[in-house]
Amino acid sequence: MTVLKVSDVKKTYDKKEVLHGVNFSVQEKEVYGLLGPNGAGKSTLLNIIVNLITEHSGDVEIFAKKISRSSLSEIGFVPQDLAIYEDLSTIQNVSFFGSLYGLKGKVLHENCEAALRMVGLWDQRKRKPSAFSGGMKRRLNIACSIVHSPKLIILDEPTVGIDPQSRNYILESIKALNQAGATIIYTSHYMEEVEAICSKVAIIDDGKIVENGLISVIKEKYQKNNCYECILETQAKIEGVFPKELIADISSSDNKYLITFKTDYINIKDVMALVTDKNSIVSIGKYRPNLEDIFLDITGKALRDGDS
């Protein structure tokens, strides 16, 4: 079942088009990643999906219905910027936002507990978020968005700028939510995260989706026949294993080498035939690019500048 269908969405800010016709769809129980650098238009796209931005062209359908205020209760949206009351306690925050969806009494209380346990803040429920760390605030931000047990959960960079521990907690929570039956849309510019939790991904750059589909399929598609990864014995040297004149480029870390040959070799056997010193090779195989490489390959730029 198609949970979300985005067709030809365009958005213009002050005469500048920031989304140039975006199309993609998300199926039930998928964890769908939206990967793109800063300013790619991820937040804009998500805000359009959840009806916060209403002036745009193109269509958004949720559960096969055009997005409207009444269908919003099916969605849990975690905004990129914190949206919590610092003056209210953790449980009051979650409970208030739950009550906006019409939950009351025992159901509300149970949902609050479930949401807070999910993000690991149940023990802190009496504390005010003003005393929380950045990571804890982000977790509360998530809890506030899932308290009404939505079928579709959309997270806009929930892990930006937080400690690794909180990040792992969040990633685990997302997996758990998915296992409990929710469909997830996850935005990030950290490709490791997307690779770790998403099955499908859309790579977005400069307001366009440049690639989308199953991660494994995309990786296979961008695999190159002249690029091999090879691990050698510690003492061995790559010059002694492959004839130098066949190699276009080598990069290495420790005894792991990434070799780009001048010509393509479809089959691993063809590469093995070139090897002069088979005993030095621990393992060899076609290089499987990660999403970062693929992004670089498609757009010619790095996903992140530095390690911000």
């Binding site: 009806n51 916060l52 205020r69 919590i84 003056d87 968005s145």
Partner: protein, 383 residues
Amino acid sequence: MFELVKVSFFLNIREVRNIALMVLLPILLTLILGVSLSSVFNESNSNVLSASRWLYQIEDSASGEKLKEFLETYHTQLNMEVSEQANYDEAISSVSNSGVDGYLIYKNETITIYKNEHSSESTKWLEIVFDNYLDRASIIDGIVDSSQDLELLQFVQDNSMNIGNRIELLQIESTRQPNAIGYYAIAMITLTSCYSIVVMILGLSEERRKNTLKRFLLSGKSFFSFLLSKSISTCILLLAELFVVMIFDTFIYRVDFGDAKCWLTVLAVSVIFAFAVTQFGTLLSLLFKNLMALNIIVNAALLPIVLFFGGAYLHFYKLISMGLQNIMIFSPVYHVNKGLFDAIYLNSYEYIFKFCVLALIVSVLLAEINILLSRWRGNSWAQ
């Protein structure tokens, strides 16, 4: 909806700033200024202003007797020395020579006052008394004729009510004369209602700044229902605060707000006024997104000007120059004060009723504009 109101109310009262602004400030100001103002009215302080000397000529009629009785009973409170003078020319010449401050003639149900402009400060008190009791019920008009050295102030009777009855009313009500604290307490109630504009604006902009407004919209609630719940909660907060202020005024300052009907009128009027004010605040918030600019507009310009021209701090507007008096009528604060005075001290509810009807019409209009604006600007305001 109820949930929204409840939480925004809850958020409002958690804001220390709001409580300080709306409860402590009026009480403190009433305390400081009320006490200092009341000294002006105390008999013990009558030496502060030298007693003014008045002559009067009052016709023999039932209402004339009442007026005479009034003058003779209350002249010390008014810091006046009064004596009868039937000779018109003599009286006028004493006034012209500044020996006497004023000459009051009551004939054919009309009060005419000739006053000496050099000593006008002290003569103004009598005018204020007449004005408070007579003009307030729109029975008479004040006409100033400065063609001569003498200022002629003539109070002309309205046909609708016999002036004798008015003076009788004056007698009855004089047991409950408004004192300085009373004036001040009412001004403070108006002021507190006025300040709900700040609570509204801060409430709205906080929700936007903290992104929590987004969550209202994400839950499928409309922007308008958000605005409405905010204004209702602001009014509920105001009502609670006014209650505290009035209890304080009644039991600590012993301000006489009259009977339960007056009491409820004060609360009801304040809330209607506040609702109009909060709608206005919403309009401003929608028009000016920048909180800094809004704060400057409201706190540094709008409120002081409206309050100042409304005479919020000083009910004795006759002491203010004519030019200011003409501007005053444009300030809603002036009308609330006047209406509340009529209700409390004259048992006359007509003025305040008219004001409430007008305020309701204005708030509905403002709310309409806000609906249109929030549709038009829509969710982009929340971003």
